[in-house]
Symmetry: C2
Subunit: 167 residues, 2 copies
């Protein structure tokens, strides 16, 4: 492993000109391993989202043409419902998916995530570009409180990777 | 049926500020019927795309979480390969899907199509908003020659609807 310091905080940037949001984060694990943490539902539910909620996954078919559906639960009660489809899944390299929220009918984002090797593949950087169809929708996403879920989720993923939980 | 003149030509508008393309077209049939022409693969292959090509559909699962894959054939040879997923399908109302093109790896559009009733539901207007993640990608879509496929495809759909081919 490299001794270079890791950027532990995800950068979340709303483009001022087009309705995209770009999230960048580095991990101390190879891209293939970090990709697995997205691909396998039993891993996903251990880290995705804020610490205050549990993920109840109903469907998670992380393959080109697959779909997903999960609830966010707090104290055993579903507080939000998410669904989408995996447009394209290239293991260790790229994941393109839609993101919908049942509580906001019609709202949908398209996310393209790339897994870039760093330090000869011992570490990686993920770059996730989400696009929506208006600057208003972009502002709504930024105001949704998503940052807590992203930062806390990635911290949990750091812990899962460090504990050897992703093989 | 109403005697009002139909707007036979699709309007295709690239937004100057955000990377969306909006296609608007009216049809002389109820939204439920026009939706069916998108939902049933044996209907889709009779009208979608330019007159110079045939669609060979491998997969067409028009439901929330479904996927699709088809080739465009000319003289029996596949000249282009398309794939994507159906994020959400609400019969007669809304269809949200991704659109990918194997010849342009990584390029993807997200399309939200709404079916709006006109004349007490005897006719309808479809409004399809596609978004990509940069103005360059929007310009590329506009320059791709897609307009021929859209205009000729919708003319074929008019013919299919008029002939009673959609029940």
């Amino acid at each position: 492993m490299s001794n270079a310091p890791t950027k532990r905080e995800a950068q979340i940037v709303a483009d001022p000109d087009v309705p995209t949001i770009t999230i960048t984060r580095e991990f101390d694990a190879p891209p293939e391993k970090v990709y697995l943490a997205w691909a396998e539902p039993e891993l996903v539910k251990q880290w995705m989202g804020p610490r205050s909620i549990d993920m109840q996954i109903h469907t998670w078919e992380c393959r080109t043409g697959g779909s997903y559906r999960y609830d966010a639960q707090r104290d055993g009660e579903a507080v939000a419902h998410f669904f989408g489809s995996f447009h394209e899944a290239v293991p260790g390299e790229r994941l393109v998916q839609t993101f919908g929220f049942e509580e906001l009918p019609g709202a949908v984002a398209l996310e393209t995530m790339t897994f870039e090797p760093l330090d000869d593949g011992r570490r990686c950087r993920i770059v996730a570009v989400s696009v929506v169809d208006s600057m208003e929708a972009q502002a709504g996403m930024m105001a949704s409180g998503m940052e807590v879920g992203i930062q806390e989720g990635y911290e949990k993923l750091d812990e899962l990777l460090a504990s050897g939980g992703v093989r």
